[in-house]
Amino acid sequence: MLEDLFKVVKSRMDDKAPAEKGKKVSIPSDLLFKCPRCKNVMFMDDFIGSAKVCSECGYHSRLSARERLDMTIDKGSFVEYDRDMTSLNPIGFPDYEEKIASLQQKTGLLEAVVTGECTIRRHPCVIVVMDSRFMMASMGSVVGEKITRAFENATEKGLPIVVFAASGGARMQEGIVSLMQMAKTSAAAKRHSDAGYLYITVLTDPTTGGVEASFASLGDIILAEPKVLVGFAGRRVIEDTIKQRLPDEFQSAEFQLEHGFADMIVERSKMRRTLSKLLKLHEKDGGLA
């Protein structure tokens, strides 16, 4: 499922532009951004200036957890939970520790999710942000445990929770233990829900597999960024089963909205404001007290 995502993007790039094959121009990735959806090429400065949204098709590309927090929450309001938690190797998968160590080096993160408390335009909440640069934000023990604790903290403190989901699914390298994180996080979400508190999910690129099939689909309100990939099964797996190429919009945020599995598609530039308004609506006396 994980690797699928890369392959899909790559293979779709390839077969969309057969004429270009062979004489591929290499693009210096630090200067230009090529949209994986519409192939539009932008100057990196413009791309970053537009909050990493494609100017042509509106694809909302992936952000690091740090970038996401910076554009979403009030400056200086973040108190991180469980920052130092790191992975072990539950089934002794070869080279797992090395892979984790090299990603820690590369991303400056210890694991694929950042959790904590913050305010969004002065509205307090618990926040969870997944970072796809870290093993496609797959869910193993650490991701599962940190998200579970985030829900438990929110329940204990009577706070709403906002989850920016992004993931390739369960982390295969941790075997059955990763599968069980789906049940663990969903059960914690249920307790938070039963206590009467608000849970907002934001589906970002990509939200798939075991994460889409657990907490990410359980928000009271489900928002999605435009054009992002959201689905359960890997696209290639389905294409192999039905022996047909699937349309581009299959498993997009828009597809989920159309089929009734998302409430609203919200552009990045309006996300902070939208979240704060929704949080306020759920505060005591509708936030007007």
């Binding site: 499922m1 690797e3 991180e80 939970y81 130092d84 938690m85 790191t86 992975s87 072990l88 190797n89 539950p90 089934i91 002794g92 998968f93 023990s141 650490v142 599962g144 445990e145 579970t148 369960a170 295969m172 941790e174 075997g175 059955i176 233990v177 990763s178 599968l179 069980m180 994180q181 789906m182 049940a183 663990k184 969903s186 059960a187 914690a188 979400a189 249920k190 307790r191 829900s193 039963d194 597999g209 075991g210 889409e212 099939a213 657990s214 907490f215 990410a216 689909s217 359980l218 689905g231 359960f232 099964a233 389905i238 089963t241 039905i242 699937l246 498993q251 089929h259 009734g260 599995f261």
Partner: protein, 272 residues
């Protein structure tokens, strides 16, 4: 028996004559009534369910159906459920809660179906909803892996108070073939994957996922389905009696903690 390799167990589980939930139901229950449909979209042949009597006690059963031949497999989609199958399971579980009947889930699937319609109807949401709702269902839940427990599609019937596995059954995050294909880009290394994935009943008991291992007749369940059904009956009868004695608040706390404690990570001295 316990000297079998993982691969030998997988072969036993895939034996043509291995009994399915349809074989066990009439042997385990004194009476049973099959119910159909999710009341939302349709009736999924990959999941059966209904009301039955086990040792005199009314129970709800839900089970993934492996076909025994091509005809049956067409109806049951090779035991790969669509969202409506999971929603039927949830409907029956809610009904069981209402009448305080224990729920017995039989897991036997390679995984949830991967297809266009399954995505359109929210495969991920259907699985997630079951994890969410089963976690606080106010009645005992027992899940038994009969053969193959594949991924989220199995877990959707696996949020329970007690998970049992038949001796040769496997339960995994992905098939060994998928594991080898994704992590090593080489599906042909599936045997090697099977050995390192920790997917047998013994492995899962050690990892705190499985509580009970139900012995199979020598050589596997297919060698003596009657004996296998008796072993299953004996376990289920005992588990139902035992779990019915627990008060609901306790039962739900233990169910929460059963999953809560699964995971391995390190944390340098507490202090947030």
């Amino acid at each position: 028996m316990s000297e079998l390799s993982v691969w030998e167990r997988i072969e036993i589980v895939h034996h043509k004559g291995r009994p399915t939930v349809r074989d066990y139901i009439p042997m385990i229950f004194e009476e049973f009534y099959e119910m159909h449909g999710d009341r939302l979209f349709g009736d999924d042949g990959a999941i059966t369910g209904g009301i039955a009597r086990l040792g005199g006690i009314p129970v709800t059963f839900i089970g993934q159906v492996k076909g025994r031949d091509i005809e049956e497999n067409k109806k049951t989609n090779f035991s790969m459920p669509h969202p409506e199958g999971y929603r039927k399971a949830l409907r029956l579980a809610k009904q069981a809660e209402k009448f305080h009947r224990p729920v017995i889930c039989f897991i036997d699937t390679p995984g949830a179906f991967c297809g266009v319609q399954a995505e359109e109807r929210g495969q991920g949401e259907a699985i997630a909803r079951n994890l969410f709702e089963f976690s606080t269902l106010k009645t005992p839940i027992i899940s038994v892996v009969l053969g193959e427990g594949g991924s989220g599609g199995a877990l959707a019937l696996g949020v329970c108070d007690e998970l049992a596995m038949l001796e040769n059954a496997t339960y995994s995050v992905i098939s060994p073939r998928g594991f080898a294909s994704i992590l090593w880009k080489d599906a042909s290394r599936e045997k090697e994957a099977a050995e390192i994935m920790h997917i047998t009943a013994d492995d899962l008991q050690r990892l705190g996922v499985c509580e009970q291992i139900i012995p199979e007749p020598s050589g596997g369940a297919h060698n003596n389905p009657q004996q296998m059904a008796e072993n299953l009956s004996e376990y289920l009868g005992d588990a139902v009696q035992r779990l019915l004695k627990k008060d609901i608040a306790n039962l739900l706390d233990s169910r929460y903690n059963k999953f809560r404690k699964i995971g391995m990570f390190s944390e340098p001295q507490a202090g947030k």
